[in-house]
């Protein structure tokens, strides 16, 4: 029997609980139905002591340490785990239809197929939800999956390869195939949130190293922070509805204080005056809003989602 390992790096146990809930309910049975031995692995990139094993039945935990010091090393280290296939699944990526995902397992009947990318980045394969044939990746020279900066001597005009990009290029050169699911199909079956962990860790790290005022200025500089904050707000609504506990709390326990609280997000959005930027944010918010409602329907819960945009007429 072939072995499939579903693996995901996590920094925060609350998001991991949501991820685990969907992964074990939607994915594991579908792949097991293909007569695969399916295991789930959560890598605790930080805060390992906060991950209560009772909240994560049937999970193999790994912790950061030698050979697996952070999520980048986790990718390569996990390639050496006892498995034949790996599904790397991002912490804030939720596959809503396991039968759809597992239907692509037959792609491996073609020997040249080494992976199926279930969520693309800018139209090309990415590591967000990557189902791979392990032996093909093990055959590459390490580091296999970590990000790289090519041509650093011409910084900042070098090429910043994202995790998995280098491997994809090497495999393509060797005549291998990564099946790339397009954005439209992917979004029908997967609810994807973005940079939600990155925002939380950025608040931690920036506040620690440069102070909270600098973090606030960054929020004003980078629109992606606002998108991630809204995604955390939505995930928080779902989390509180399911577990009745605050999501992304700060050290005092305030909900979303480790991201942006509702008040902070409203305040930050009030400072956005560019109509184009607001439109772009609104589109992203709407997509995320739809995604969280899809997750809520799976849970059979109603969400009370606060509005955050200045215009009273919008539902967001």
């Amino acid at each position: 029997m072939s072995r499939l390992l579903i693996a995901s790096p996590h920094r925060y146990p609350d998001l991991a609980r949501l991820w685990h809930r969907f992964a074990t309910r939607e994915l594991v049975p579908s792949f097991a139905a293909l007569h695969l031995d399916v295991q789930v692995n959560i890598f605790c990139d930080a805060n390992a002591e906060q991950f209560d094993p009772q909240h994560f039945p049937n999970v193999r935990f790994t912790r950061s340490g030698p050979g697996m010091r952070d999520f980048m090393e986790f990718y390569d280290a996990t390639l050496q785990a006892p498995c034949d296939f790996l599904l790397f699944l991002d912490a804030d990526t939720f596959i809503l239809d396991g039968d759809w995902a597992s239907s692509y397992f037959s792609s491996f009947d073609e020997p040249r197929v080494v992976a199926v990318s279930l969520v693309p980045r800018d139209g090309v394969p990415a590591i967000f939800a990557l189902l791979c044939r392990v032996e093909s990746y093990r055959a590459l020279a390490p580091p296999v999956l970590a990000c790289r900066y090519e041509f650093p001597e011409i910084w900042p005009r070098g090429v910043n390869l994202q995790p998995g990009d280098f491997a994809a290029r090497e495999l393509a050169r060797a005549g291998k195939i990564i099946v790339n699911i397009g954005e439209e199909e992917s979004s029908r079956y997967i609810a994807n949130f973005r940079s939600t962990t990155g925002l939380r860790s950025s608040r931690e790290q920036t506040t620690l190293a440069a102070g909270n005022s600098v973090f606030w200025r960054m929020v004003g500089m980078f629109p992606e922070y606002l998108s991630a904050a809204y995604d955390n707000l939505l995930l928080g609504c779902l989390y509180e509805s399911v577990y009745h506990q605050p999501f992304a709390p700060d050290s005092a326990g305030a909900a979303l204080g480790g991201s942006l609280t509702v008040v902070e997000l409203r305040q930050a959005l009030n400072e956005v005056h560019d109509a184009g930027q607001l439109d772009s944010l609104r589109r992203g918010f709407r997509q995320s809003h739809d995604n969280i409602l899809r997750l809520a329907r799976r849970e059979g819960v109603e969400l009370a989602i606060p509005s955050v945009l200045p215009e009273a007429s919008t539902a967001l």
């Binding site: 010091r69 990000c147 790289r148 090519e150 650093p152 102070g211 960054m218």
Partner: protein, 97 residues
């Protein structure tokens, strides 16, 4: 008029993006995004996504930039690239590159 050799001291609460800092710069708490550091003393603060060309990193946090040259004395290496562009994970600080 400021003396050309007078150090430029960056302080906590400051945020700089896409700037180059030369050998007479001392960072005491500022955050630098996509900046080039060339010869100064980085005592504390945050260095994100830029190029550390030369100088001394004596404290603060390095996150996602390229450590091209210079000396690493102390601080927190959260991750970044060496001069060949290979990613070095958390705690794999330049002393061991």
């Amino acid at each position: 008029m400021r003396n050309a050799q007078e150090p430029l001291i960056l302080l906590s609460g400051e945020l700089h993006t896409h700037r180059k800092f030369g050998p007479h710069t001392i960072n005491r708490g500022a955050a630098l995004f996509e900046c080039e550091w060339d010869g100064g003393l980085f005592e504390s603060g945050l260095f994100v996504g830029g190029l550390f060309r030369s100088g001394q990193f004596a404290g603060g946090m390095f996150l996602g930039g390229i450590f091209w040259g210079g000396s690493w004395v102390s601080g927190t290496w959260e991750g970044g690239f060496d001069r060949t562009g290979i990613y070095r994970s958390r705690d794999d600080r330049p002393t061991s590159l």
